[in-house]
Amino acid sequence: MLELRNVSAGYGNIQVLHNLDLVINSGEIITLIGANGAGKSTTLMAISGIVPVRSGKILFEGEPIHKISPEKLVAMGICQVPEGRHIFPALTVQENLDMGAFLRNDKDGIKDDLDYVFSLFPILAERRNQDGGTLSGGEQQMLAMSRALMARPKLLLLDEPSMGLAPLIIKQIFGIVRKINKDHNTTIFLVEQNANQALHIADRGYVIENGVITISDSAENLLKNQDVQKAYLGI
């Protein structure tokens, strides 16, 4: 479904990603793990068209997309929940969700998806007229994911959804990531530092170090991999 071929990208004079190769098949949950500053968010921003690709190709359903504008990528079904959630603070919960469906006009479909996200996160239904900025961290993460789901994505990019959350909430969020994947066959690309949890729900995983993919394997094997255990699982 998504393929990065030899992708390099960066900011100004700094090159962050070096010849990245990565494949995500339809319906999979793929995780990308790496330390601070390894280039995880940059990878997602390159896929979303925010950080320009300097060389190499990104293909989505066989089409090259690395020159397509970010808003067209959303229309094509690639949606990102960025690191730090980026809730619109002075928009209500409902308005944040409306923004997720910004490019859609199918009223009935939008209504169905609204019911769906409220079934995933009933707390959001209770808070729907409250400003996004007043929600707790966990609620903001739920809202950010719901907002992305309102676009009915084919590929959902999640950047460190567990960041700063209590273990119980993290467990709930990861459970829902899996449920989203099952319910709509939504392909998921999950960036995490919380490697243990991520590998437990993922099919396959990649490890990124200093902008280079160093390991790629099934989630099962990565959990058993000694290097991964030492560096990312704290074993």
């Binding site: 925010i50 959303v74 980026h86 928009l91």
Partner: protein
């Protein structure tokens, strides 16, 4: 007491005109974080457009109401086209440049537009046709509140209600708020930020054009320089209220209009500006972000 009420209405009228212009400053600042220094000229062009249309139509003997409506529409459309163009030429190419660059190009745009109108028209004050008649029912209070004050207040109120509705409930309004709050995220939900910025310039320009028509008809004369003065006053009002805040722009404008009106009425018209700017300085000392502004606004 009559005199007080007269000054009160005079101040509110002034304030509503400032508000129509100040909204353009504040909305643009809210979205791109920059002051549109050519905004006063957009208002001036609105006044000139309605002047030209109104003069021509009255030669052909159109009824007054038709003149007002057609001149108003023409001014709104024409000013919006200018606002759209200013953004395209002076701001868009400099989107990633240091903050000073677009400010300078906008000042250049403002000087260009002033001189363009100066050359195309004249440097003299032109008599603006009285578009607002003296209503018979206003006769008993006409010495306190003029018909044109009343029309300006009602029109501005309706425009504000319309604008509030637009920003609160329409798709473009929500997209404008979202873009103002978090541009990266706006892009990530599929909002075309360039289009939102254009829409903001267009809406601000349309409001300024309505202000241009109303004030020109109220005062009865215009020239190429009115945009500069009105622009500075409206800018002051926007800063007073907290630049970037829409209710702030309205509040700041009314406070400024009332201050000027009372200062003129009770002290002397020579001190009108002294009071206006002293008020600004005082408010900025005690509340640097303006009356309703958020604390962390960047300085221009």
């Amino acid at each position: 007491m009559d005199y007080f009420i007269e000054l009160l209405f005079g101040g509110l009228t002034r304030g509503s005109i400032y508000a129509l212009i100040a909204l353009g400053y504040t909305m643009v600042y809210g979205i791109i974080g920059l002051i549109n220094f050519a905004h006063g000229e957009i208002y001036m062009i609105g006044a000139f457009t309605s002047f030209i249309i109104a003069t021509v139509l009255s030669i052909y003997g159109f009824p007054l109401l038709a003149i007002v409506v057609i001149a108003g529409l023409a001014a709104t459309v024409w000013s919006s086209a200018y606002g759209f163009t200013v953004e395209k030429l002076a701001y868009r190419p400099l989107r990633k440049a240091p903050r000073l660059a677009p400010l300078i190009s906008a000042i250049g745009m403002s000087i260009f537009l002033q001189n363009y109108v100066l050359l195309a028209q004249t440097s003299d004050f032109l008599p603006f046709p009285a578009l607002i008649p003296e209503f018979a029912f206003m006769e008993p209070v006409a010495h306190i509140v003029g018909s044109s004050d009343l029309v300006i207040l009602i029109t501005t109120t309706l425009v504000m209600i319309g604008l509030t509705f637009l920003i609160k409930f329409t798709k473009i309004g929500k997209a404008m708020r979202a873009t103002a709050q978090d541009k990266t995220m706006a892009v990530l939900v599929g909002i075309n930020v360039d289009r939102v910025i254009s829409a903001t310039f267009i809406i601000g320009s349309a409001l300024a054009a309505i202000g241009g028509l109303l004030i020109a008809s109220h005062i009865g004369q215009i020239n190429f320089y009115i945009g500069f003065i009105a622009g500075i006053k409206a800018f002051t009002a926007a800063v007073l209220g907290g630049v970037g805040s829409i209710p702030g722009a309205v509040l700041g404008s009314l406070v400024l209009g009332l201050t000027e009106s009372f200062a003129t009425g009770y002290v002397s018209s020579d001190y009108e500006d002294v009071f206006a700017f002293s008020l600004l300085v005082l408010i900025l000392i005690f509340k640097p972000s303006g009356l309703l502004g958020k604390a962390e606004t960047k300085k221009v």
